[in-house]
Protein backbone atom coordinates (compact mmCIF):
# COMPACT_ATOMS: atom_id res chain seq x y z
CA UNK A 1 0.00 0.00 0.00
CA UNK A 2 1.44 3.34 -1.08
CA UNK A 3 1.23 6.65 0.65
CA UNK A 4 -2.18 8.04 1.50
CA UNK A 5 -3.53 10.22 -1.32
CA UNK A 6 -5.07 13.47 -0.11
CA UNK A 7 -7.08 16.35 -1.61
CA UNK A 8 -7.11 19.70 0.24
CA UNK A 9 -10.27 21.77 0.13
CA UNK A 10 -9.97 25.23 1.68
CA UNK A 11 -10.75 28.66 0.25
CA UNK A 12 -7.62 30.21 1.76
CA UNK A 13 -4.53 29.53 -0.31
CA UNK A 14 -2.39 30.39 2.71
CA UNK A 15 -3.97 27.56 4.70
CA UNK A 16 -3.60 25.15 1.77
CA UNK A 17 0.08 25.90 1.28
CA UNK A 18 0.63 25.65 5.04
CA UNK A 19 -1.02 22.23 5.24
CA UNK A 20 0.77 21.12 2.08
CA UNK A 21 4.17 22.02 3.47
CA UNK A 22 3.39 20.25 6.75
CA UNK A 23 1.98 17.10 5.19
CA UNK A 24 3.80 17.04 1.87
CA UNK A 25 6.61 14.70 2.89
CA UNK A 26 4.36 12.34 4.84
CA UNK A 27 1.37 12.12 2.51
CA UNK A 28 0.67 12.39 -1.19
CA UNK A 29 -1.23 15.63 -1.90
CA UNK A 30 -2.91 14.93 -5.25
CA UNK A 31 -5.11 17.99 -5.57
CA UNK A 32 -6.35 21.28 -4.13
CA UNK A 33 -9.66 23.11 -4.42
CA UNK A 34 -11.01 26.42 -3.21
CA UNK A 35 -14.79 26.02 -3.52
CA UNK A 36 -17.53 23.42 -3.70
CA UNK A 37 -17.66 23.00 -7.50
CA UNK A 38 -13.89 22.87 -7.84
CA UNK A 39 -13.69 20.38 -4.98
CA UNK A 40 -16.30 18.05 -6.47
CA UNK A 41 -14.55 18.07 -9.86
CA UNK A 42 -11.12 17.57 -8.31
CA UNK A 43 -12.23 14.72 -6.04
CA UNK A 44 -14.03 12.91 -8.87
CA UNK A 45 -10.96 13.22 -11.06
CA UNK A 46 -8.35 12.10 -8.54
CA UNK A 47 -10.39 9.69 -6.35
CA UNK A 48 -8.25 10.31 -3.26
CA UNK A 49 -8.19 8.25 -0.05
CA UNK A 50 -8.92 11.24 2.16
CA UNK A 51 -10.31 14.72 1.59
CA UNK A 52 -9.26 17.37 4.10
CA UNK A 53 -12.31 19.56 4.09
CA UNK A 54 -12.87 23.07 5.39
CA UNK A 55 -16.32 23.44 6.92
CA UNK A 56 -16.94 26.88 5.43
CA UNK A 57 -16.48 27.41 1.70
CA UNK A 58 -17.36 30.49 -0.33
CA UNK A 59 -20.11 28.77 -2.33
CA UNK A 60 -21.53 26.55 0.39
CA UNK A 61 -20.59 24.32 3.27
CA UNK A 62 -18.41 21.21 3.49
CA UNK A 63 -21.35 18.84 3.73
CA UNK A 64 -22.38 19.83 0.18
CA UNK A 65 -19.07 18.43 -1.12
CA UNK A 66 -19.54 15.18 0.78
CA UNK A 67 -23.09 14.71 -0.52
CA UNK A 68 -22.06 15.46 -4.10
CA UNK A 69 -19.34 12.81 -4.35
CA UNK A 70 -20.41 10.20 -1.84
CA UNK A 71 -22.41 8.02 -4.27
CA UNK A 72 -19.68 7.95 -6.91
CA UNK A 73 -16.77 7.45 -4.51
CA UNK A 74 -17.94 5.51 -1.45
CA UNK A 75 -14.34 4.72 -0.44
CA UNK A 76 -13.18 8.31 -0.24
CA UNK A 77 -13.15 9.47 3.37
CA UNK A 78 -13.54 12.97 4.72
CA UNK A 79 -11.82 14.71 7.61
CA UNK A 80 -13.16 18.13 8.55
CA UNK A 81 -10.53 20.75 9.32
CA UNK A 82 -11.84 24.01 10.68
CA UNK A 83 -11.29 27.00 12.90
CA UNK A 84 -14.96 27.10 13.69
CA UNK A 85 -16.07 26.19 17.18
CA UNK A 86 -19.75 26.29 16.37
CA UNK A 87 -21.39 22.92 17.12
CA UNK A 88 -23.91 23.34 14.32
CA UNK A 89 -21.02 23.40 11.83
CA UNK A 90 -19.45 20.34 13.42
CA UNK A 91 -22.64 18.34 13.65
CA UNK A 92 -23.62 19.15 10.06
CA UNK A 93 -20.39 17.96 8.51
CA UNK A 94 -20.20 14.86 10.74
CA UNK A 95 -23.77 13.87 9.97
CA UNK A 96 -23.07 14.35 6.28
CA UNK A 97 -20.49 11.60 6.61
CA UNK A 98 -17.13 13.05 7.67
CA UNK A 99 -15.03 10.57 9.66
CA UNK A 100 -13.68 13.16 12.04
CA UNK A 101 -13.21 16.74 13.01
CA UNK A 102 -9.99 18.50 13.95
CA UNK A 103 -9.22 22.17 14.47
CA UNK A 104 -6.60 24.01 12.46
CA UNK A 105 -4.40 24.48 15.54
CA UNK A 106 -3.45 20.77 15.31
CA UNK A 107 0.25 20.07 14.71
CA UNK A 108 1.43 18.73 11.35
CA UNK A 109 2.45 15.44 12.89
CA UNK A 110 -0.91 14.93 14.57
CA UNK A 111 -2.76 15.93 11.42
CA UNK A 112 -0.81 13.41 9.35
CA UNK A 113 -1.63 10.72 11.91
CA UNK A 114 -5.29 11.72 11.83
CA UNK A 115 -5.39 11.50 8.02
CA UNK A 116 -3.85 8.00 8.04
CA UNK A 117 -6.30 6.92 10.72
CA UNK A 118 -9.27 8.22 8.73
CA UNK A 119 -7.93 6.55 5.57
CA UNK A 120 -7.95 3.26 7.48
CA UNK A 121 -11.63 3.75 8.23
CA UNK A 122 -11.29 4.94 11.82
CA UNK A 123 -12.71 8.07 13.37
CA UNK A 124 -10.81 11.08 14.64
CA UNK A 125 -12.15 13.16 17.51
CA UNK A 126 -10.56 16.34 18.76
CA UNK A 127 -10.87 16.98 22.53
CA UNK A 128 -13.52 19.56 21.78
CA UNK A 129 -15.56 17.24 19.59
CA UNK A 130 -15.36 14.60 22.34
CA UNK A 131 -16.59 17.14 24.89
CA UNK A 132 -19.36 18.18 22.56
CA UNK A 133 -20.56 14.61 22.05
CA UNK A 134 -20.51 13.98 25.80
CA UNK A 135 -22.53 17.13 26.32
CA UNK A 136 -25.02 16.26 23.59
CA UNK A 137 -25.56 12.69 24.77
CA UNK A 138 -25.73 13.58 28.46
CA UNK A 139 -28.25 16.35 28.12
CA UNK A 140 -31.72 15.24 29.17
CA UNK A 141 -33.34 17.85 27.00
CA UNK A 142 -32.79 15.94 23.78
CA UNK A 143 -33.81 12.42 24.74
CA UNK A 144 -35.88 10.99 21.92
CA UNK A 145 -39.35 9.63 22.70
CA UNK A 146 -38.08 6.05 22.34
CA UNK A 147 -34.33 6.03 22.84
CA UNK A 148 -32.66 3.28 20.84
CA UNK A 149 -29.13 2.01 21.44
CA UNK A 150 -28.03 4.71 19.00
CA UNK A 151 -29.18 7.40 21.38
CA UNK A 152 -27.08 6.48 24.39
CA UNK A 153 -23.37 5.97 24.97
CA UNK A 154 -22.12 2.83 26.70
CA UNK A 155 -20.11 3.40 29.90
CA UNK A 156 -16.97 2.33 28.04
CA UNK A 157 -17.57 4.77 25.18
CA UNK A 158 -18.14 7.49 27.72
CA UNK A 159 -14.81 6.67 29.42
CA UNK A 160 -12.95 6.78 26.12
CA UNK A 161 -14.50 10.12 25.16
CA UNK A 162 -13.71 11.58 28.57
CA UNK A 163 -10.05 10.66 28.13
CA UNK A 164 -9.95 12.20 24.66
CA UNK A 165 -11.57 15.35 26.05
CA UNK A 166 -8.85 15.40 28.74
CA UNK A 167 -6.26 15.60 25.97
CA UNK A 168 -5.22 11.94 25.84
CA UNK A 169 -4.06 10.38 22.59
CA UNK A 170 -5.53 7.03 21.55
CA UNK A 171 -2.36 5.32 22.77
CA UNK A 172 -2.51 7.07 26.14
CA UNK A 173 -6.21 6.29 26.50
CA UNK A 174 -5.51 2.63 25.69
CA UNK A 175 -2.85 2.47 28.41
CA UNK A 176 -5.11 4.16 30.91
CA UNK A 177 -7.97 1.71 30.34
CA UNK A 178 -5.75 -1.36 29.80
CA UNK A 179 -7.12 -1.79 26.31
CA UNK A 180 -5.49 -2.02 22.89
CA UNK A 181 -5.35 1.00 20.63
CA UNK A 182 -7.49 -0.98 18.19
CA UNK A 183 -10.25 -1.29 20.81
CA UNK A 184 -10.13 2.44 21.47
CA UNK A 185 -10.50 3.04 17.73
CA UNK A 186 -13.47 0.71 17.64
CA UNK A 187 -15.17 2.58 20.46
CA UNK A 188 -14.60 5.96 18.83
CA UNK A 189 -15.94 4.67 15.50
CA UNK A 190 -19.02 3.38 17.30
CA UNK A 191 -19.57 6.82 18.82
CA UNK A 192 -19.16 8.44 15.42
CA UNK A 193 -21.78 6.10 14.02
CA UNK A 194 -24.16 7.06 16.81
CA UNK A 195 -23.51 10.71 16.16
CA UNK A 196 -24.30 10.20 12.48
CA UNK A 197 -27.31 7.93 12.82
CA UNK A 198 -28.86 8.81 16.14
CA UNK A 199 -32.48 9.73 15.75
CA UNK A 200 -32.08 12.45 18.30
CA UNK A 201 -33.73 14.77 15.85
CA UNK A 202 -33.19 17.58 18.26
CA UNK A 203 -29.41 17.15 17.99
CA UNK A 204 -29.02 19.69 15.24
CA UNK A 205 -31.17 22.29 16.89
CA UNK A 206 -29.43 21.65 20.17
CA UNK A 207 -26.09 22.12 18.47
CA UNK A 208 -27.06 25.46 17.06
CA UNK A 209 -28.09 26.68 20.49
CA UNK A 210 -24.90 25.56 22.17
CA UNK A 211 -21.35 26.51 21.46
CA UNK A 212 -18.32 24.24 21.57
CA UNK A 213 -16.36 27.06 23.14
CA UNK A 214 -16.65 26.54 26.86
Amino acid sequence: MGRTRVVLVDDHSLVRSGVRSELGDRLDIVGEAADVAEAVACIKETAPDVVLLDVHLPSGTGDAVIQAVHDDLPDTRFLALSVSDAPDDVIRVIRAGARGYVTKSISGEELAAAVVRVAAGDAVFSPRLAGFVLDAFTSDVVVAPEPSELDVLTPREREVLQLIARGYTYREAAEELFLSVKTIETHVSAVLRKLQLSNRRELTRWASERRLLP
Binding site: T138, E209, L213, P214
Partner: protein
Protein backbone atom coordinates in the same frame (compact mmCIF):
# COMPACT_ATOMS: atom_id res chain seq x y z
CA UNK B 1 -33.05 70.17 23.26
CA UNK B 2 -31.08 68.61 20.48
CA UNK B 3 -29.52 72.01 19.88
CA UNK B 4 -26.98 73.59 22.23
CA UNK B 5 -28.79 76.05 24.47
CA UNK B 6 -25.82 78.42 24.33
CA UNK B 7 -27.10 79.62 20.94
CA UNK B 8 -30.65 80.76 21.71
CA UNK B 9 -31.32 82.25 18.27
CA UNK B 10 -31.10 78.86 16.56
CA UNK B 11 -32.97 76.99 19.24
CA UNK B 12 -35.88 75.03 17.83
CA UNK B 13 -39.09 74.02 19.46
CA UNK B 14 -39.41 70.34 20.27
CA UNK B 15 -41.87 68.38 22.27
CA UNK B 16 -40.19 66.81 25.26
CA UNK B 17 -40.08 63.04 25.52
CA UNK B 18 -39.04 62.92 29.13
CA UNK B 19 -40.86 64.70 31.91
CA UNK B 20 -44.04 65.04 29.90
CA UNK B 21 -47.60 64.69 31.14
CA UNK B 22 -49.56 64.34 27.94
CA UNK B 23 -47.54 64.80 24.76
CA UNK B 24 -44.70 66.98 26.04
CA UNK B 25 -46.07 70.20 24.55
CA UNK B 26 -45.97 72.23 27.75
CA UNK B 27 -42.55 70.91 28.74
CA UNK B 28 -41.17 71.67 25.28
CA UNK B 29 -42.67 75.15 25.25
CA UNK B 30 -41.34 75.83 28.73
CA UNK B 31 -37.85 74.91 27.66
CA UNK B 32 -38.15 76.94 24.49
CA UNK B 33 -39.59 80.10 26.12
CA UNK B 34 -37.87 79.82 29.46
CA UNK B 35 -41.18 79.89 31.38
CA UNK B 36 -41.93 77.57 34.30
CA UNK B 37 -43.69 74.47 33.01
CA UNK B 38 -46.28 74.49 35.81
CA UNK B 39 -47.40 78.01 34.84
CA UNK B 40 -47.83 76.92 31.24
CA UNK B 41 -49.83 73.87 32.27
CA UNK B 42 -52.14 75.94 34.42
CA UNK B 43 -52.61 78.34 31.51
CA UNK B 44 -53.54 75.44 29.21
CA UNK B 45 -56.06 73.97 31.63
CA UNK B 46 -57.57 77.38 32.39
CA UNK B 47 -58.00 78.17 28.71
CA UNK B 48 -59.63 74.78 28.19
CA UNK B 49 -62.15 75.36 30.94
CA UNK B 50 -62.76 78.97 29.96
CA UNK B 51 -63.74 78.51 26.35
CA UNK B 52 -61.89 75.62 24.76
CA UNK B 53 -59.12 77.55 23.05
CA UNK B 54 -56.52 75.56 25.00
CA UNK B 55 -57.65 72.26 23.45
CA UNK B 56 -57.23 73.60 19.96
CA UNK B 57 -53.87 75.15 20.82
CA UNK B 58 -52.58 72.01 22.49
CA UNK B 59 -53.76 69.80 19.65
CA UNK B 60 -52.18 72.13 17.10
CA UNK B 61 -48.84 72.03 18.93
CA UNK B 62 -49.07 68.25 19.22
CA UNK B 63 -49.54 67.85 15.48
CA UNK B 64 -47.13 70.53 14.29
CA UNK B 65 -44.20 70.44 16.71
CA UNK B 66 -41.82 67.52 16.15
CA UNK B 67 -40.85 65.19 18.91
CA UNK B 68 -37.40 65.63 20.44
CA UNK B 69 -34.66 63.04 19.93
CA UNK B 70 -33.55 60.48 22.44
CA UNK B 71 -31.02 62.55 24.33
CA UNK B 72 -32.11 61.61 27.77
CA UNK B 73 -34.17 58.45 27.56
CA UNK B 74 -36.20 57.99 30.70
CA UNK B 75 -37.59 54.52 31.02
CA UNK B 76 -39.31 54.79 34.37
CA UNK B 77 -42.78 53.37 34.48
CA UNK B 78 -43.97 55.91 37.02
CA UNK B 79 -43.64 58.57 34.30
CA UNK B 80 -46.23 56.74 32.22
CA UNK B 81 -48.59 56.67 35.15
CA UNK B 82 -48.19 60.40 35.72
CA UNK B 83 -49.10 60.86 32.06
CA UNK B 84 -52.32 58.95 32.61
CA UNK B 85 -53.21 61.47 35.32
CA UNK B 86 -52.52 64.18 32.74
CA UNK B 87 -54.96 62.61 30.32
CA UNK B 88 -57.57 62.18 33.02
CA UNK B 89 -57.25 65.83 34.01
CA UNK B 90 -57.64 66.85 30.38
CA UNK B 91 -60.73 64.66 30.00
CA UNK B 92 -62.31 66.03 33.18
CA UNK B 93 -61.68 69.58 31.96
CA UNK B 94 -63.39 68.74 28.68
CA UNK B 95 -66.42 67.32 30.43
CA UNK B 96 -66.61 70.38 32.65
CA UNK B 97 -66.37 72.64 29.63
CA UNK B 98 -69.12 70.81 27.80
CA UNK B 99 -71.37 71.03 30.82
CA UNK B 100 -70.66 74.75 31.22
CA UNK B 101 -71.53 75.37 27.60
CA UNK B 102 -74.80 73.50 28.15
CA UNK B 103 -74.35 70.65 25.70
CA UNK B 104 -75.61 68.07 28.15
CA UNK B 105 -74.99 64.36 28.23
CA UNK B 106 -76.00 63.80 24.59
CA UNK B 107 -72.83 65.44 23.37
CA UNK B 108 -70.67 64.79 26.37
CA UNK B 109 -70.00 61.09 26.14
CA UNK B 110 -69.49 60.87 22.36
CA UNK B 111 -67.05 63.77 22.59
CA UNK B 112 -65.18 62.18 25.50
CA UNK B 113 -64.92 58.85 23.66
CA UNK B 114 -63.75 60.47 20.44
CA UNK B 115 -61.11 62.56 22.13
CA UNK B 116 -59.76 59.68 24.21
CA UNK B 117 -59.54 57.51 21.08
CA UNK B 118 -57.79 60.25 19.13
CA UNK B 119 -55.33 60.81 21.95
CA UNK B 120 -54.54 57.09 22.03
CA UNK B 121 -53.89 57.02 18.27
CA UNK B 122 -51.72 60.12 18.31
CA UNK B 123 -49.67 58.90 21.20
CA UNK B 124 -49.11 55.66 19.34
CA UNK B 125 -47.88 57.65 16.35
CA UNK B 126 -45.39 59.36 18.67
CA UNK B 127 -44.34 55.95 19.89
CA UNK B 128 -43.68 54.59 16.41
CA UNK B 129 -41.70 57.65 15.38
CA UNK B 130 -39.55 57.12 18.44
CA UNK B 131 -39.10 53.52 17.31
CA UNK B 132 -36.98 54.74 14.41
CA UNK B 133 -34.39 55.98 16.84
CA UNK B 134 -34.10 52.64 18.46
CA UNK B 135 -31.41 50.18 17.47
CA UNK B 136 -32.28 46.86 15.92
CA UNK B 137 -31.46 45.05 19.12
CA UNK B 138 -33.77 47.23 21.18
CA UNK B 139 -36.51 46.69 18.67
CA UNK B 140 -36.06 42.92 18.80
CA UNK B 141 -36.20 43.03 22.57
CA UNK B 142 -39.36 45.10 22.39
CA UNK B 143 -40.89 42.64 19.93
CA UNK B 144 -40.03 39.74 22.22
CA UNK B 145 -41.60 41.38 25.23
CA UNK B 146 -44.92 41.58 23.45
CA UNK B 147 -44.83 45.30 22.66
CA UNK B 148 -46.14 44.51 19.18
CA UNK B 149 -49.33 43.04 20.62
CA UNK B 150 -49.82 46.00 22.91
CA UNK B 151 -49.37 48.41 19.99
CA UNK B 152 -52.08 46.62 18.01
CA UNK B 153 -54.44 46.73 21.00
CA UNK B 154 -53.85 50.46 21.34
CA UNK B 155 -54.48 51.14 17.66
CA UNK B 156 -57.66 49.07 17.56
CA UNK B 157 -58.86 50.54 20.87
CA UNK B 158 -58.25 54.07 19.63
CA UNK B 159 -60.09 53.49 16.33
CA UNK B 160 -63.03 51.81 18.10
CA UNK B 161 -63.33 54.68 20.57
CA UNK B 162 -63.37 57.28 17.79
CA UNK B 163 -65.95 55.34 15.75
CA UNK B 164 -68.14 54.78 18.79
CA UNK B 165 -67.97 58.45 19.67
CA UNK B 166 -68.94 59.55 16.17
CA UNK B 167 -71.70 56.95 15.86
CA UNK B 168 -73.21 57.84 19.22
CA UNK B 169 -73.13 61.50 18.30
CA UNK B 170 -75.00 60.89 15.06
CA UNK B 171 -77.52 58.67 16.84
CA UNK B 172 -78.25 61.20 19.57
CA UNK B 173 -78.67 63.98 17.03
CA UNK B 174 -81.21 61.85 15.09
CA UNK B 175 -78.90 62.28 12.15
CA UNK B 176 -78.81 58.64 11.08
CA UNK B 177 -81.14 59.05 8.08
CA UNK B 178 -79.07 61.99 6.99
CA UNK B 179 -75.87 60.08 7.50
CA UNK B 180 -77.23 57.20 5.44
CA UNK B 181 -77.96 59.52 2.58
CA UNK B 182 -74.56 61.14 2.87
CA UNK B 183 -72.78 57.77 3.11
CA UNK B 184 -72.56 57.02 -0.62
CA UNK B 185 -71.17 60.43 -1.68
CA UNK B 186 -68.67 60.32 1.18
CA UNK B 187 -67.61 56.78 0.23
CA UNK B 188 -67.17 57.75 -3.42
CA UNK B 189 -65.20 60.84 -2.49
CA UNK B 190 -62.95 58.85 -0.17
CA UNK B 191 -62.32 56.20 -2.83
CA UNK B 192 -61.50 58.96 -5.29
CA UNK B 193 -58.94 60.43 -2.93
CA UNK B 194 -57.41 56.99 -2.30
CA UNK B 195 -57.10 56.35 -6.04
CA UNK B 196 -55.49 59.72 -6.67
CA UNK B 197 -53.19 59.93 -3.67
CA UNK B 198 -52.72 56.18 -3.00
CA UNK B 199 -49.83 55.38 -5.35
CA UNK B 200 -47.96 58.46 -4.26
CA UNK B 201 -48.44 57.57 -0.58
CA UNK B 202 -47.38 53.98 -1.25
CA UNK B 203 -44.23 55.10 -2.99
CA UNK B 204 -43.42 57.52 -0.21
CA UNK B 205 -43.89 54.75 2.33
CA UNK B 206 -41.66 52.36 0.37
CA UNK B 207 -38.92 54.93 0.05
CA UNK B 208 -39.07 55.63 3.75
CA UNK B 209 -38.76 51.90 4.49
CA UNK B 210 -35.83 51.51 2.12
CA UNK B 211 -34.09 54.46 3.65
CA UNK B 212 -34.55 53.02 7.10
CA UNK B 213 -33.17 49.64 6.02
CA UNK B 214 -30.17 51.33 4.48
CA UNK B 215 -29.58 53.23 7.68
CA UNK B 216 -29.71 50.04 9.75
CA UNK B 217 -27.27 48.33 7.37
CA UNK B 218 -24.90 51.24 7.55
CA UNK B 219 -25.14 51.21 11.32
CA UNK B 220 -24.24 47.52 11.42
CA UNK B 221 -21.38 47.98 8.97
CA UNK B 222 -19.93 50.72 11.14
CA UNK B 223 -20.23 48.51 14.19
CA UNK B 224 -18.49 45.61 12.42
CA UNK B 225 -15.74 47.89 11.13
CA UNK B 226 -15.25 49.22 14.62
CA UNK B 227 -15.00 45.70 15.99
CA UNK B 228 -12.44 44.66 13.40
CA UNK B 229 -10.47 47.82 14.00
CA UNK B 230 -10.46 47.37 17.76
CA UNK B 231 -9.49 43.74 17.89
CA UNK B 232 -7.80 42.74 14.64
CA UNK B 233 -6.19 45.85 13.22
CA UNK B 234 -4.85 47.02 16.58
CA UNK B 235 -3.36 43.59 17.24
CA UNK B 236 -1.78 43.37 13.80
CA UNK B 237 -0.17 46.76 14.28
CA UNK B 238 1.12 45.78 17.72
CA UNK B 239 2.46 42.49 16.37
CA UNK B 240 4.46 44.26 13.68
CA UNK B 241 5.94 46.54 16.29
CA UNK B 242 6.76 43.71 18.70
CA UNK B 243 7.86 41.18 16.08
CA UNK B 244 11.18 40.61 17.90
CA UNK B 245 9.39 39.50 21.08
CA UNK B 246 7.75 36.13 20.34
CA UNK B 247 6.29 35.83 23.82
CA UNK B 248 4.47 39.14 23.52
CA UNK B 249 3.32 38.31 19.99
CA UNK B 250 1.84 35.01 21.16
CA UNK B 251 0.08 36.78 24.00
CA UNK B 252 -1.38 39.38 21.63
CA UNK B 253 -2.55 36.79 19.15
CA UNK B 254 -4.17 34.63 21.81
CA UNK B 255 -5.92 37.62 23.31
CA UNK B 256 -7.21 38.74 19.93
CA UNK B 257 -8.34 35.24 18.99
CA UNK B 258 -10.24 34.85 22.24
CA UNK B 259 -11.97 38.18 21.73
CA UNK B 260 -12.91 37.39 18.14
CA UNK B 261 -14.22 33.93 18.98
CA UNK B 262 -16.21 35.29 21.86
CA UNK B 263 -17.83 37.71 19.48
CA UNK B 264 -18.33 35.39 16.48
CA UNK B 265 -19.66 32.44 18.43
CA UNK B 266 -21.47 34.60 20.92
CA UNK B 267 -23.11 32.39 23.46
CA UNK B 268 -26.19 32.93 25.51
CA UNK B 269 -24.40 31.62 28.58
CA UNK B 270 -24.85 33.90 31.55
CA UNK B 271 -21.80 35.73 32.87
CA UNK B 272 -22.28 34.13 36.26
CA UNK B 273 -21.85 30.54 35.03
CA UNK B 274 -19.18 28.02 35.89
CA UNK B 275 -18.12 27.90 32.24
CA UNK B 276 -17.57 31.65 32.13
CA UNK B 277 -15.64 31.49 35.40
CA UNK B 278 -13.37 28.69 34.17
CA UNK B 279 -12.85 30.39 30.80
CA UNK B 280 -11.90 33.66 32.49
CA UNK B 281 -9.40 31.91 34.79
CA UNK B 282 -7.84 30.10 31.79
CA UNK B 283 -7.58 33.33 29.81
CA UNK B 284 -5.77 34.95 32.72
CA UNK B 285 -3.23 32.12 32.98
CA UNK B 286 -2.70 32.13 29.20
CA UNK B 287 -1.95 35.84 29.23
CA UNK B 288 0.25 35.83 32.31
CA UNK B 289 2.35 32.75 31.63
CA UNK B 290 2.45 32.55 27.83
CA UNK B 291 0.86 29.11 27.50
CA UNK B 292 -1.99 27.73 25.42
CA UNK B 293 -4.83 26.08 27.31
CA UNK B 294 -7.13 23.66 25.50
CA UNK B 295 -10.33 23.91 27.46
CA UNK B 296 -13.25 21.49 27.15
CA UNK B 297 -16.30 21.76 29.37
CA UNK B 298 -19.24 19.38 29.66
CA UNK B 299 -22.37 20.34 31.56
CA UNK B 300 -23.05 23.60 33.32
CA UNK B 301 -23.46 24.91 36.82
CA UNK B 302 -24.23 28.35 38.21
CA UNK B 303 -21.24 30.29 39.53
CA UNK B 304 -22.01 29.66 43.18
CA UNK B 305 -19.59 30.06 46.06
CA UNK B 306 -19.17 26.30 46.49
CA UNK B 307 -17.60 25.82 43.04
CA UNK B 308 -15.39 28.89 43.33
CA UNK B 309 -12.58 27.16 45.30
CA UNK B 310 -12.41 24.46 42.61
CA UNK B 311 -11.85 27.08 39.93
CA UNK B 312 -9.16 28.70 42.09
CA UNK B 313 -7.46 25.35 42.64
CA UNK B 314 -7.67 24.70 38.88
CA UNK B 315 -6.04 28.05 38.26
CA UNK B 316 -3.20 27.21 40.65
CA UNK B 317 -2.70 23.82 39.03
CA UNK B 318 -2.55 25.46 35.60
CA UNK B 319 -0.07 28.07 36.84
CA UNK B 320 2.13 25.28 38.22
CA UNK B 321 1.99 23.46 34.92
CA UNK B 322 2.85 26.67 33.06
CA UNK B 323 5.79 27.46 35.34
CA UNK B 324 7.34 24.04 35.92
CA UNK B 325 6.29 21.50 33.29
CA UNK B 326 8.52 22.87 30.55
CA UNK B 327 5.78 22.65 27.89
CA UNK B 328 3.63 25.46 26.56
CA UNK B 329 0.39 23.53 26.20
CA UNK B 330 -2.09 22.57 28.92
CA UNK B 331 -5.32 20.59 28.60
CA UNK B 332 -8.19 21.32 30.96
CA UNK B 333 -11.34 19.24 31.03
CA UNK B 334 -14.26 20.04 33.30
CA UNK B 335 -17.37 17.95 33.75
CA UNK B 336 -20.50 18.66 35.76
CA UNK B 337 -22.77 15.74 36.59
CA UNK B 338 -25.77 15.72 38.87
CA UNK B 339 -23.64 14.79 41.86
CA UNK B 340 -20.11 15.94 41.12
CA UNK B 341 -17.89 18.57 39.56
CA UNK B 342 -14.60 17.22 38.23
CA UNK B 343 -11.81 19.19 36.60
CA UNK B 344 -8.66 17.69 35.10
CA UNK B 345 -5.57 19.81 34.50
CA UNK B 346 -3.04 18.03 32.35
CA UNK B 347 0.32 18.76 30.77
CA UNK B 348 2.76 16.55 28.85
CA UNK B 349 5.75 18.05 30.63
CA UNK B 350 8.61 16.56 32.55
CA UNK B 351 6.54 15.66 35.61
CA UNK B 352 7.54 15.74 39.28
CA UNK B 353 7.36 13.60 42.39
CA UNK B 354 4.48 14.89 44.53
CA UNK B 355 6.13 13.46 47.68
CA UNK B 356 9.38 15.27 47.04
CA UNK B 357 8.08 18.70 46.22
CA UNK B 358 10.73 21.33 46.88
CA UNK B 359 9.96 24.42 48.94
CA UNK B 360 9.21 26.65 45.97
CA UNK B 361 6.40 24.31 44.93
CA UNK B 362 4.58 24.79 48.14
CA UNK B 363 1.73 25.96 45.88
CA UNK B 364 0.66 22.43 45.01
CA UNK B 365 0.20 21.30 48.58
CA UNK B 366 -1.38 24.45 49.96
CA UNK B 367 -3.33 26.09 47.16
CA UNK B 368 -4.43 22.95 45.36
CA UNK B 369 -4.65 19.96 47.71
CA UNK B 370 -5.39 21.74 51.00
CA UNK B 371 -7.83 24.15 49.35
CA UNK B 372 -9.86 21.30 47.89
CA UNK B 373 -9.90 19.39 51.18
CA UNK B 374 -10.94 22.47 53.16
CA UNK B 375 -13.96 22.81 50.89
CA UNK B 376 -15.06 19.20 51.08
CA UNK B 377 -13.43 18.05 47.84
CA UNK B 378 -10.38 16.07 46.84
CA UNK B 379 -7.32 16.66 44.69
CA UNK B 380 -5.22 13.82 43.34
CA UNK B 381 -1.99 14.29 41.44
CA UNK B 382 -0.49 11.80 39.03
CA UNK B 383 2.86 12.63 37.62
CA UNK B 384 5.53 10.78 35.70
CA UNK B 385 8.50 11.67 33.59
CA UNK B 386 6.93 9.91 30.60
CA UNK B 387 3.32 11.09 30.69
CA UNK B 388 3.59 14.48 32.36
CA UNK B 389 1.31 15.62 35.15
CA UNK B 390 -2.41 15.39 35.66
CA UNK B 391 -4.25 17.00 38.56
CA UNK B 392 -7.77 15.77 39.23
CA UNK B 393 -10.00 18.08 41.26
CA UNK B 394 -13.33 16.81 42.42
CA UNK B 395 -16.15 18.30 44.45
CA UNK B 396 -19.45 16.62 45.40
CA UNK B 397 -22.45 18.73 44.43
CA UNK B 398 -25.84 18.87 46.01
CA UNK B 399 -28.11 17.34 43.40
CA UNK B 400 -30.51 20.27 43.37
CA UNK B 401 -27.77 22.72 42.47
CA UNK B 402 -26.91 21.04 39.17
CA UNK B 403 -28.53 22.31 36.01
Amino acid sequence: MAVPSAVPSTRRLYRRRDGRLVAGVAAGLSEHLGIDVVLLRIAFVASIVLGGLGVLLYAAFWVVVPQGGDDAPSHDRSGARVQLVGFAALGAAMLLLAQLLGFGAALLWPAAATITGAALLWRQADESSRNRWRTVAERQRAALSGARGRTAVRYIGGILLVLTGMGTFLATQDAFPLARRAFLPVLVATLGIVVVVGPWLLRYWREATEERTARIREHERVELAGRIHDSMLQTLTLIQRRADDPEEVRRLVRHSERELRGWLYRTAQPAASLRAMVAAACAQVEDEYDVTINLVMVGEHPATTDVEPVVQAMREAAVNAAKHSGVREISIYGEVTASELTIFVRDRGKGFKPDAVPEDRFGVRESVVARMERNGGTATIRSSRRNGTEVRLSLPLRTTAAV
